[in-house]
Amino acid sequence: MKASRTKERVTWIIISVLVLLYALFPVVSIMATSFKLPSELTSGKFLPSSWTGSNYEQILVGSAQDLFLSSLRNSIGIALIATFIAVVLATLCAYAIARLDFPGKKVILTTALAVSIFPVISIVTPLFNLWRNIGLYDTWPGLIIPYLSLTLPISIWTLAAFFRQIPWELEQAAQVDGATTWQAFRKAIVPLAAPGVFTTAIIAFFIAWNDFVYGISLTSTEAARPVPAALAFFTGASQFESPVGAISAAAIIVTIPIVLLVLLFQRQIVSGLTQGAVKG
């Protein structure tokens, strides 16, 4: 009995280690690369023999500073604004869909979903033309708007699923108890709806933060270029040095906020992403 239990435990440890290796090994290797000196990139060793911060220096205070820091500012600003607008509009939409009675509700939801699966690559060309004509090319709004069209459908969908589970009778109950309409909404409904809104915001932020296709096609300068697009423009400190170290360092920096969000809110993110797919 005891022997079999130890054996079982060992099997589980082996399985977990394999899954972890599978998931994290490539990421760890990038992190190791980001601490290597340029001369060491082709050494064939996994870990750097002497750890250096020079790649981070290069992108944060050194030669690649302009390219990286401005793109970081763009990414943070654009992703936050897009997330905020998407969540506000999606909340209005999802509230109406979950609460109110009007014709064409189903059509709205299915259309939102249908257009959201349309390949981004084919929307980007018309937008490129349009943006150049109306002066939105290479501006913040020029990226915020396409990010809204990426994030809104999934936000509406996720939020509508969340709102559907809220016991709205609570609102009436609070009103019977003497609360005003606004009080009933704020005190009874908002606390129940907040987790859903928050999860939606995180998912929307991921989508906006991770985009590459719009970022590279609809910008041309540091005025609006986000980090994922900027990664493609990195060059080595000299023409003969590979930019791999600097790219690795930048990749690690853009990944940190995402990984932090996942570590903090993994449960909510998973439930937000899967409930549409499962509870249907």
Partner: protein, 313 residues
Amino acid sequence: MTAAEVVARDAVTRGGTERRGRRRPPGRTVLRLLPLSPAVVLLGVFLAGPILWAFYGSLTNAALTGVAAKDPQWVGLENYTELLSDPDFLQSLWLTVIFVLVSAVLGQNLLGLGIALLMTKASKAVSAVVGVCVVAAWVLPEIVAGFVAYAFFNREGTLNQLTALFGIEGTDWLFTVPMLAVILANIWRGTAFSMMVYQAALNDVPEEITEAAMIDGAGGSKRLWYITLPMIRRSIATNLMLITLQTLSVFTLIYVMTAGGPAGASTTLPLMAYEEAFRYSDVGYGTAIAVVMLLIGAVFSVIYIRALRERKG
């Protein structure tokens, strides 16, 4: 789509009972549509607009530069007939179908299901740690994932360092087997999503049923095949549909790893559409490819819905 239908259905029944009580004053509906309007207008103008333009554009000789950019001419189905006789397109179509079948339908789907099944048996601590790591790998920005995969497969990459340990000299995998490399990369990147969907679905399978089957003497594989899988059939269909559509439009990963090369050997349809539109500035031809991608997505979706409905009887 399924959730959306339920939302709509719920709302309809709820609305029905409400309506019985009192008559709605006219104009109410208009007021009720108000909260929807900002999102609908935005999506209508900036998402549906470009999509409709894409359909229209695929019937013209629209271009980014030159005469055709100023005044695109209506060419009817010419772009599509040209596609069918373009060997590059036929190769790209074939590569896309392989990419979707091997990396999404087989790789992500089966591996995700496997890990999810394993995790139902694991202790809480194990499944929590594994869950966080797998999700963390999944939310990596696609460009970072592409770069990670590039750093793994290239000539000086991690994979060759590993094979060197065993005394085997590797090749430049991105050059010799580009499709295999991008397929493995996409499996690596996407498996977490299937795992999450299946974990959530498996949690909803009542334990009593599998237990009852166990008492009746059904072995592990029989329980899986006759009890568990049929019970999560809907999740399987939805998951297959979502990962298929997602994989169909994978662009960044391949663009970063191989840029479609060498010599088009890993150019799937999204890369070809992008190349045609932005490098060769043939927007009409590029959007025609995008429309074909949509059709492929629709075909796959219909197959899943059909296949998983039949088993009900």
